[in-house]
Symmetry: C2
Subunit: 203 residues, 2 copies
DNA sequence: TTTACTTGAACGAACGAACGTTCATAATAT
DNA sequence: ATATTATGAACGTTCGTTCGTTCAAGTAAA
């Protein structure tokens, strides 16, 4: 029998959960600063204030640390999913979403972590699946708003809502990525983006 | 005095140039298959059929091999630059470009190499600069076509040609990347992309 | 409440493998 | 004869992981 789901958790269990979280946070910072492959397990342990051996009591290996971070990233999406789910004015919701998502990706660390995960996702199937799952949720929510807007006349009815949802997300992400590389801001690209976007989807 | 530019090249010089190229090709394949950090210098040397020490006669180090590959990638863009430069029918040229670029990125190895360079570009300034330089050329050529189309009535005059050029390129690249991760084809996404694009830019 | 027993978190030395790079030496072209 | 290229052993470092051990918290019997 495994642990009861309603288990309040002993003092020890809570401490363990906190340690795990500490390690993950430290790993995130390391990966952002120096990249996954340039980060050693010792670096993570040191930053987390945990011994090398103990890290291996909490995680099977380095890869699993990254995988757990990738899973954690899913939680970051909930604000955006909520924003999209509670829509009653599709055109405005899309604008709000684009602005909010751009603001989120305006923090370079978020972009860098995404890129770090991206390049691992190519060759690590488990991370790849998490990656596409995250994207699927966001795309579905956005497509739903697009469909609403197609019904109420906000958007052109010839729109392919699923494909368009993908592209809207990608436009924001690409702008954010470009901002990181060229050391400018996403905000400066937002006007051009929304103009382009309005023309693409509005009726 | 360095080597004369008009130097016809001795037999030896040519052989050396070929060796260099052989090594670069081998390195490219390694980086595509296993990623930059997962590839050892020995892997490159072995694949190129060259001794480990000799590789260091041709390149100062591993990083320089990647940097040279990044520089080489610039040459890959010339067909697209030519296509865009020789435009007399902007609307058609854009469609042709999108189709051609999508076809190029339809080969997963091109996408993977780009991602590999991308994630290095974040922390290696020299590669980052090559990266943005490549993109600047392509964007400029595409923006020029957009401007033509704005004059001749193909495209809406409210268009921001530079920002739009960026976004067109990014839409194709994002679709290609997504195709790699989800193991589908770029071709299947091309219809939705061009529809979205036409709505965004045409008058 | 005190006792003996169990559990697993914490630790860092140690392991073998692989890393990027250097170098003395051998081969070869000019 | 000379200059350059080719070679692979060797270097020192770092990698991810394993291991035996210590010790504190949890459990249950007395």
């Amino acid at each position: 029998m495994t642990k009861d789901l309603a288990d309040p958790g002993t003092k020890r269990d809570k401490a363990v959960a906190q340690r795990r979280r500490t390690i993950l946070d430290a790993a995130m910072l390391c990966f952002i600063e120096n990249g996954y492959h340039q980060t050693g397990v010792r670096d993570i342990a040191k930053r987390a204030g945990v011994s090398l051996g103990n890290l291996y009591n909490h995680f099977p290996g380095k890869h699993d640390v990254l995988a757990e971070i990738a899973a954690l990233e899913r939680a970051e999406l909930t604000p955006f999913l909520d924003l999209l789910a509670g829509s009653d004015a599709p055109a405005k919701t899309i604008d709000d979403f684009v602005a909010a998502y751009a603001a989120y990706l305006g923090k370079p660390e978020n972009v860098i972590l995404t890129i770090e995960l991206t390049s691992e996702a190519i060759r690590k199937p488990d991370i790849g699946e998490l990656f596409v799952a995250n994207r699927r949720d966001l795309t579905a929510a956005l497509a739903s708003v697009l469909r609403q807007g197609m019904s109420n006349g906000d958007f052109r009815t010839s729109l392919d809502p699923d494909a368009s949802a993908q592209m809207i997300i990608e436009l924001v992400e690409a702008a954010a990525f470009r901002a990181v590389l060229s050391k400018t801001t996403v905000a400066s690209k937002l006007a051009g983006l929304t103009d382009f976007l309005h023309a693409a989807i509005r009726s």
